[in-house]
């Protein structure tokens, strides 16, 4: 018979607690060669040489806003049929050509833009570009493919709308922005059902445009060579018109949280939001660090409180969402139904506390090193760098912003972070939604600042 130690015996040794080792000397990342240029057709191309693996990562972002009530539905079908056939290749030939060079292309659309992401072995870069150019200039959006994708989309929308996270997101968008086109992240099934191939082709001709769009290429190709090959492959993609940007969003102001009942829910989705500032604003680095202290990573006040102390949740976080005209803060958590109101109380408490009990020196050191270190880690891979770069470049910035950001973070003072905390995290600035079991509503109403739909 084996005998086991007790938990308290396991937790101590003869030597006792040991000191935490100090940090060593940090080597900095080596510089990357970059080209950032605008082609004759108006497409901005950023190419970065990062030969860590023999691959290329491509991100194309085409501003793709529309005010037509059916725009979201037509755009969704367009994205679904973009890679389903041209004069030169049918759907299966596209897949074959890409697969033989280890490649993939995928199209998706949101209220702001049509995004095409792809990758391939570096030896197949020209094939990847050829397929991309072929679909941008020659996608047929055939009756057959439009019909099939339309039917699948209707089913996929039903599946997506049964997800509590999607229900909460749609409710939040409506509550924040009414019927602004920005809210149409997923079209209605009824709208999708009436989309015709003709409508899709018209939208493609009028909106899939290089001028004002962005292509990021990261990988095992010299930047000048990459730009030349992209320019050559996409020379036939041209128009004098510019891709369409989303109209500005209204500024958010604080107000009641909207309660959205969801029958059968065993968990509630809490989503709070307030106006913030984008990366181009001089206050942004302080905002970024204040947000980390609040709920932006695991060692934040919010997570340590409602997860590690109280066990209300597995998932709690706050983040900055970038929008065409600015930025917002989003605070989110999913909690057990019976602690919905207590969780909201703590979320608001921590919002208020961030302003009146500002981040300590230790908290400031932690978030600063975390922000710098995770940027280093996430840009260390081709996929991470391509995605990060596309995200900042879509708002007019470039590689120099990413490279210079650690220095900006280093310069932020504790006072500036405290000021950002007071300014952006004050509880009355927040609005939002709660999705959950209606039995929780009386408790939420008792807290105040929550109203039913």
């Amino acid at each position: 018979m084996t005998s086991f130690r007790t938990a308290s015996e396991i937790g101590r040794t003869e030597l006792g607690p040991r000191p935490l080792p100090a940090l060593g000397v940090q080597r900095s990342a080596t510089g990357l060669s970059v080209q950032d240029t605008v082609l004759d057709n108006g497409l901005r191309v950023i190419a970065v040489h990062q030969p860590t693996v023999p691959m290329v990562e491509l991100r194309l972002r085409i501003p793709f806003a529309g005010t037509d009530p059916l725009h979201a539905a037509v755009a969704e079908v367009l994205a679904s049929t973009l890679l389903t056939g041209t004069e030169r290749r049918d759907r299966f030939a596209i897949d074959t050509d890409l697969a033989l060079v280890g490649g993939e292309l995928d199209a998706s659309v949101d209220p702001e833009r049509l995004a095409i992401a792809g990758n391939a072995l570096a030896s197949g870069f020209d094939t990847l570009l050829d397929v991309l150019a072929d679909t941008l200039t020659g996608a047929l959006h055939s009756e057959d493919e439009v019909g099939r994708e339309r039917d699948r989309l209707v089913e996929r929308i039903a599946v997506a709308r049964s997800q509590p996270s999607v229900i909460a997101r749609e409710a939040l968008q409506r509550h924040r922005y009414g019927d602004h086109p920005f809210t149409r992240e997923m079209p209605d099934a009824a709208d999708v059902a009436v989309v015709t191939a003709q409508r899709v082709r018209e939208l493609h001709a009028g909106a899939v445009l290089p001028r004002g769009s962005l292509l990021v290429l990261v990988g095992d190709v010299e930047p000048a060579d990459a730009v030349a090959r992209i320019a050559s492959a996409l020379a036939g993609w041209a128009s004098d018109a510019s891709a369409v940007e989303l109209p500005p969003l209204p500024e958010l102001s604080g107000g009641d949280l909207l309660f959205v009942p969801r029958p059968g829910a065993v968990q509630s989705q809490l989503r709070l939001s307030a106006q913030a500032v984008p990366r181009t604003d001089e206050l942004y680095p302080a905002l970024q660090l204040a947000n980390l202290v609040y709920g932006g990573f695991f060692s934040s006040r919010l997570v340590e409180n409602i997860r590690e102390d109280k066990g209300y949740t597995y998932h709690a976080r706050s983040s900055v969402e970038f929008t065409p005209s600015g930025a917002t803060l989003l605070v989110e958590s999913d909690t057990a139904s019976d602690v919905t109101a207590p969780a909201l109380l703590e979320m608001r408490y921590e919002l208020g506390r961030l302003g009146v009990v500002p981040p300590t020196e230790s908290e400031v050191d932690t978030v600063r090193r975390y922000a710098v270190g995770t940027l280093l880690i996430s840009t260390g891979s081709q996929t991470g760098l391509a995605s990060q770069l596309a995200a900042v470049a879509a708002y007019g910035l470039g590689m120099d912003w990413l490279v210079g950001h650690p220095a900006r973070l280093a310069e932020v003072t504790a006072d500036q972070i405290a000021e950002a905390a007071r300014r952006f995290f004050s509880p009355p600035r927040y609005t939002g939604v709660i999705v959950g079991d209606v039995a929780q509503l009386p408790y939420l109403s008792a807290l105040g600042g929550v109203r039913a739909e």
């Binding site: 086991f4 130690r5 007790t6 938990a7 015996e9 937790g11 101590r12 040794t13 040991r18 935490l20 080792p21 940090l23 060593g24 940090q26 900095s28 693996v53 691959m55 890679l83 759907r91 897949d95 890409l98 697969a99 033989l100 060079v101 280890g102 490649g103 993939e104 391939a120 072995l121 099939r148 699948r152 089913e155 039903a158 599946v159 709308r161 049964s162 997800q163 969801r262 029958p263 059968g264 065993v266 968990q267 340590e304 997860r307 590690e308 066990g311 209300y312 949740t313 597995y314 999913d334 057990a336 230790s362 932690t366 710098v372 270190g373 280093l376 880690i377 260390g380 081709q382 996929t383």
Partner: protein, 427 residues
């Protein structure tokens, strides 16, 4: 991936170590794989391996509760852990200046984790919220990884729910924790991996310094989890209160991933021939030519390939409209398997699969953390972290006949079919 030089050694206490220096970026990855997953948890304690993973973050002799997270993050790094059928991993990726700190954190909890009643109760609550989030409150929660095994498998280790029943999680006590730790978390039952911006000499010295005095305990004898292959088609149904569309998962037994690696790789290629990309057999037919399904997939392993020992599962999943009878889709799957069994796939079909696999491996392992974890899990499961570098060649060597043979082995009379039936009122 460019071949990384791999250095392997074993400390006197039995800890196996893999060091993979790569100076490309000034960051390091550190992982510890323990040779215990949810297949090893005791009856009456479903979900315990995963709960215990949470507890390993709750402090150790030198580290108060929350200190682990704070030390990693204040060094500019990120961390996580995850529980698999046959192992549990813990990992950090950090700027290389923090390497010694990461080794200290892992060594301290390998030596003396501080498991308290208060933290146990708190983490039971957190795990219950994780299960509500990922399973109970969403459509297709636990599909197929929780729902399929009890239909395909008969024995507790293979069949039970690795997330656990709430009542059994609530019953877990400190003695369960102590016994589990002493049995399975011995250094001789673990693999430490360090990859990235480090030299072998530097890594060796720091590893000796921090892990050298973790006392030896014998590694437990690893039981076999093998069980007979089904001799008929097994059926199960799950009523999903949130799902809008019917779905099903078909589970087949497949070759032993460790001892029949070539047969296993033929199944990986088969999965891609069936359902990877628009041109694959099942996608081409069931999504495009005679659209019967909303989604169809084929995969090896409930969590992906190279994750488990024998027995492992080949899975086909589909989501379809209620107007389409399940039998129609299943018949189509069987017909495509029969076709492949009778006439092997073309060289071009295999060339497509191979190129995508090679590219996918490059892409995945370009992320330092994925590379670190791959070295660690392959050392643990195969005793060979260098398999990471050999996989592209091994996959390219799979022949059309081997894929045909793999297809032939997926028989309707030796499989499980789990049906998900929408049973909600919340549409």
């Amino acid at each position: 991936m460019p071949v990384t030089e791999l250095n392997r050694f074993t400390l006197p206490n039995g800890l196996r170590v893999v060091v993979a220096p790569d100076p490309t970026a000034p960051v390091v990855g550190v992982s510890v794989h323990y040779d215990v997953g949810f297949r090893s948890e005791p009856q009456g304690r479903t979900g315990f391996a995963h709960l215990f993973e949470h507890l390993m973050f709750q402090g150790s002799e030198s580290l108060e509760k929350l200190a682990h997270f704070r030390h990693v993050q204040s060094s500019g790094g990120t961390f996580n852990g995850s529980t698999h059928p046959d192992y549990t991993d813990y990992f950090e990726v950090l700027p290389s200046a923090a390497l010694e700190r990461a080794l200290f954190l892992e060594a301290d909890r390998m030596r003396a984790p501080k498991i308290t009643e208060e933290n146990l109760r708190n983490q039971v609550d957190v795990v219950k919220e994780e299960i509500r989030l990922n399973v109970l409150n969403r459509p297709y929660g636990g599909f197929p990884w929780i729902l399929l095994p009890p239909v395909l498998y008969q024995t507790f280790p293979n069949a039970h729910n690795g997330y656990g029943d709430f009542s059994e999680l609530e019953q877990a006590d400190l003695d369960d924790c102590a016994q589990f730790f002493d049995t399975y978390y011995a250094p001789a039952n673990a693999v430490l991996t360090v990859a990235g911006d480090v030299t072998v000499d530097q890594a060796r010295e720091l590893i000796d310094r921090h892990f050298g005095d973790v006392p030896h305990r014998p590694a437990p004898v690893r039981p076999s989890f093998s069980e007979p292959v089904p001799t008929s088609e097994l059926r199960g149904e799950h009523l999903d209160p949130h799902a809008p569309l019917p779905a099903f998962a078909v589970g087949y037994r497949m070759p032993d991933p460790i001892n029949e690696l070539d047969g296993y790789l033929a199944n990986l290629v088969l999965a891609a021939v069936l359902a990877e990309g628009d041109g694959s057999r099942l996608q081409q037919r069931l999504l495009h030519r005679e659209p019967l399904v909303t989604d169809i997939n084929a995969a090896c392993g409930l969590f992906g390939p190279f994750e488990a020992r024998d027995p492992d599962t080949f899975i086909v999943t589909a989501v379809h409209s209620p107007e389409v009878a399940q039998e129609r889709v299943l018949t189509a799957v069987d017909e495509e398997l029969d076709k492949l069994a009778a006439a092997p796939p073309s060289e071009q079909e295999l060339a497509k699969v191979t190129a995508r696999w090679v590219a996918g491996l490059h892409r995945e392992h370009d992320r330092l953390i994925a590379r670190t974890l791959a070295f660690g899990s392959l050392e643990l499961l195969y005793g060979d972290p260098g398999l990471v570098h050999q996989l592209p060649e091994r996959i390219s060597a799979v022949t059309p006949d081997a894929v045909a043979a793999a297809a032939k082995a997926l028989r309707p009379d030796a499989r499980a079919v789990l049906t998900v039936t929408p049973a909600g009122g919340d549409q």
